[in-house]
Symmetry: C2
Subunit: 444 residues, 2 copies
């Protein structure tokens, strides 16, 4: 079985193979990368029996964990794959084929001088390490994005899905072996936590680490690696209802931001309300929140308005807590200024929204809130690669460097400067014999 062979290969060797594969991949045209993806989609469907068999092994091993409460039934449901699930996996791969080529895109063209032209063009990052938890559908999702963007990928999935992940990667590699043009080592799988620790040290051969999973996983990765990490530890998102808010929109946006899916990072955790309209707005929204079983943890002013039968007192730590649950902290603020200061102090720079009809205040909020997503009159839940129209998402970044917010194919690329001359030397410019033109040319 593949697992045994793979375990014989050291993680350092896996890194070297991935680097070598990534250098090969930089030669591949968009058509070749797309044809490989189509071949893989076909191979996944053709191997559905094998994949389902492996998944059944994982599920059988997980059943006792569910019975003893070590694995939630929600997690178990996400582990399970059926025939329809496999068709969906293949469909997702085909969706990526339809996205535009992220490589060789010209970002700038500058004529430095007669016959000396500088091109700034996108190219692959190289080798991406992706560490994720349980869900096996992550494998084809991220592997299709890395292949499309000309990168090699090293994957480590959750142990609950070990057999399924192994089967998916094996099918993927077999499809590449039959397809020829793309190196098999463009996708490799790690098996243990110790492997991950070693992966995090391979700063020479790995260009980016993407942790997808719990806050603990992300922090563990960030603390143990000098390789750049693309991820987000927390999502403490805010809804601010301004004095000039439309009440009906404010209720809709608050409810959707909190309850549409409370367990995810772009759900709201804190509601800020301008004191000028708190008396009118808070009872309205509290009624709807109660209908949706949301616990309200209020500041002193909101408690005074709502009463203790509707809200419990918020503690200081509530303002910096990601509940991922049907709980909402509520604070009455003096004005937009105080709301912005609160968001910048307690938020996690993920996504924050203002509800207002005053476009001056909206502009202030948009400019001054230091978050990856800043919204006006829209739910925080829109902060997502698919909803943004990026086509697919490798993850969401809370960092400000390289890629911010939902990250699609573009975040898996870098750029290089290509300079085409005709024997040009710097000496002639230093001596003053020649002078730079620095003329920006159209990109086309």
């Amino acid at each position: 079985m593949t697992q045994i062979t793979a375990e014989k290969t050291s993680v350092a060797e896996i890194g070297r193979r991935a680097r070598a594969a990534s250098l090969e991949m930089s030669k591949l045209s968009h058509d070749v990368r797309n044809d490989a993806l189509l071949a893989i989609a076909h191979a996944l469907e053709a191997a559905s029996e094998k994949i389902l068999g492996a998944n059944q092994k994982d599920c059988r091993a997980a059943e006792p964990l569910v019975a003893t409460g070590k694995l939630s039934s929600a997690m178990f449901a996400r582990l399970k794959v059926d025939e329809k699930g496999i068709r969906e996996l293949a469909m997702r791969v085909r969706d990526v084929v339809r996205l535009p080529d992220p490589l060789g895109r010209r970002l700038a063209v500058t004529e430095l001088d007669e016959g000396l032209t500088l091109y700034k063009e996108t190219c692959p990052l190289g080798v991406i390490g992706i560490v994720f938890e349980a869900r096996p559908d992550v494998v084809p999702q991220v592997a299709s994005l890395t292949l499309k963007s000309g990168n090699a990928v090293i994957l480590k999935g959750g142990s609950e899905a070990a057999f399924t992940n192994e089967a998916l990667v094996t099918v993927w590699r077999e499809a590449l072996r039959n397809f020829h043009a793309v190196p098999e080592d463009s996708i490799q799988l790690l098996h243990t936590r110790a492997d991950v620790m070693e992966l995090l040290t391979l700063s020479h051969d790995v260009d980016l680490i993407v942790p997808r999973g719990s806050k603990e996983l992300v922090e563990h990765v960030m603390q143990n690696s000098r390789i750049p990490v693309l991820g987000h530890g927390e999502g403490i998102c805010h809804v601010y209802v301004d004095r000039a808010a439309d009440m009906e929109k404010a209720v809709r946006v608050t409810l959707d931001s909190k309850v549409q899916n409370p367990s995810v990072c772009n759900a709201a955790e804190t509601l800020l309300v301008d004191e000028k309209i708190a008396g009118e707005f808070l009872p309205k929204v509290a009624h709807e929140l109660q209908e949706a079983n949301v616990q309200i943890r209020g500041c002193a002013k909101s408690l005074a308005i709502l009463g203790r039968s509707i809200a419990v007192p918020a503690q200081e730590q509530d303002w910096s807590t990601e509940y991922c649950d049907l709980i909402l902290s509520v604070k009455v603020v003096r004005d937009a200024e105080e709301a912005i200061a609160h968001v910048n102090r307690f938020g996690s720079r993920h996504t924050d929204t203002i509800v207002t009809e005053d476009m001056g205040t909206a502009k202030k909020f948009l400019d001054e809130v230091d978050s990856a997503g800043v919204f006006v009159n829209a739910s925080t839940r829109f902060s997502d690669g698919f909803r943004y129209g990026l086509g697919a998402e490798i993850g969401i970044s809370n960092g400000k460097l390289h890629a911010r917010g939902p990250v699609g194919l573009e975040g898996l690329t870098t750029y290089k400067y290509k300079l085409i001359g005709n024997g040009h030397i710097v000496g002639e410019y230093s001596s003053g014999a020649k002078h730079f033109k620095h003329r920006q040319l159209p990109i086309s």
Copy 2:
């Protein structure tokens, strides 16, 4: 004196003040930022006596170091500032005023649905920490770039220039105090190595560290910080002379790449020569290199061509050594394929050039060499922010994430997604009541 007051402020407090200043700066228009820079340029000229006095103190303290060989005379020359030097510092600040605004630039506009539009716009990174060695002209250069891009900066210069740096920062802050609109704490100075160690831990308040100086400084910073670092440890740049090279261009490009300024990171360290033309080319270039006092360290094949009176044998470590000196390692390779493999194995992903008249081989080199700058028929020395037409340079990055190669104002920005709706909620899209349009709109 300011130094004493500043030393009373803890580095953590300096970080908090910088963060607060950076949030204020996100409100400033391009005109205000430019007017502040003009006021500062004027203040620098007006305070030239004070700055020169401080510089004289530094120079007097440095003289014994030069006498005992602890400071090179080149370093001493770069430490010294005169009247003309101050006018040049002010001129550089005015140059930055003329650059286009890097903020609020639209990168993409997407209509997600009727009345729901997503704008991807550039914005400041926040707080930049810059650690540099001796040269005091770095202070106005980087501080004008950070102010122009709406960032706060924390600086630590070399101890040799302590009085000069202190004077420059004091003048800068006084100018901001008189100008009012830009917070004084947008520029702050650290004084000791211990301060730098503390700065490197402030991941909450500092968004980017830029080390400018020796390889040791850059590695020290990279090893001791979880904050993203923009810098480069080494510049091992290659010139590859292909079988289809024009001999005259090949000699010009090799000479300029090696000797135009051998002590800098974009100078060439290794010359690769196709075996098909080595017999003709090597004696020609060796003659010119010898005239320029360059020591040649050759592989066995190049030694066989040149003879041991002209070249000494290269050791394995020569291929991965940045000489920063009049030394060049020379290797004869089978073909472009081997040259590319050598560059990707031993290079530092900085800048590499091919000399060839064969555009097919040139394209292969451009696509497959994994470096920030890949050139055809041009000297490696062109790899520089000013020569690229970026207007100014905060540093050169060997990393692939965020910014690569010479980094100008753009590398000091990130982006945010601004979403403008009219009470839009995700629930209606999840339920299928509404559908996304995802229409890319012109950026305008």
